[in-house]
Symmetry: C2
Subunit: 145 residues, 2 copies
């Protein structure tokens, strides 16, 4: 068992950088690994927290995400959709779908994110792909790169 | 995306009985299926809510559980351990480990529970197994059958 002593914190669980600084566009994101797989569950459970005004990298990959918001609020871009996010909202990111999580300006966005242990590396959009993503006015108004 | 309009409720998601009434010992438990697998994620995400003073069935199975508390408080029995549960506590139930979730007397216990889509059926303790489980004084003081 891994007790949670405070919102977004778990006993004995290290708060890590989201990614190496400068390796990809993102702002104010931390990562924690809560479960690394076990029994017949070949999945990892991570917790990401995006600080107020921060955002994850706009990316896509073959593996899927299952996300449950557990703290704060924000916005998510999944493919051609933009949705506001609040407590306990569930997001499924299908394979090869561009996605980005953005915290609200006033508060953090914290979410559990499930992935397979064995998974491919994220891909970032080329200039051409980015132009296409941004050509959707709803998405273009929200994504940060 | 499946938005959550209220604690323990998700849009378009049916609140179902935990199990058929009388099929096994339990008290005041509901079940919701939030994710049925998709992409490379061959897992189901369910939400269980145990009413104040209620409890799930004491059982075990080959498949593992990964649980995150998202509402209220209670107690969990996992093997020879008894732990109190609060918001965002994480519980891993390993294969073939007797377990039971109990809500506190004053408030419900709501939790997300992850399992493989393909999994074996739960097993309930025989009279002999139950006697052995209850011979542990810490566990015996808590389990309900």
């Amino acid at each position: 068992m891994v007790p949670s002593a405070a919102p977004g914190r778990w006993d004995g669980t290290e708060v890590m950088p989201y990614k190496e600084e400068g390796s990809a566009p993102f702002r104010d994101v931390t990562r924690q690994k809560l479960f690394a797989g076990g029994g017949d569950l070949d999945v990892e459970l991570r917790y990401f927290e995006v600080g107020p005004g921060g955002y994850s990298t706009l990316e896509r990959h073959q593996h899927a995400h299952l996300v449950v918001v557990t703290r704060g609020s924000g916005t998510v871009v999944v493919g051609s959709e933009v949705r506001t996010l609040g407590l306990h909202d569930l997001v499924h990111v299908p394979p090869l779908t561009w996605h980005q999580f953005l915290a609200s300006p006033q508060e953090p966005l914290g979410f559990l994110c499930l992935v397979k242990v064995e998974r491919d590396r994220p891909e970032r959009p080329s200039a051409e792909q980015l132009a296409e993503i941004q050509s959707n006015p709803v998405v273009g108004a929200v994504v940060r790169v």
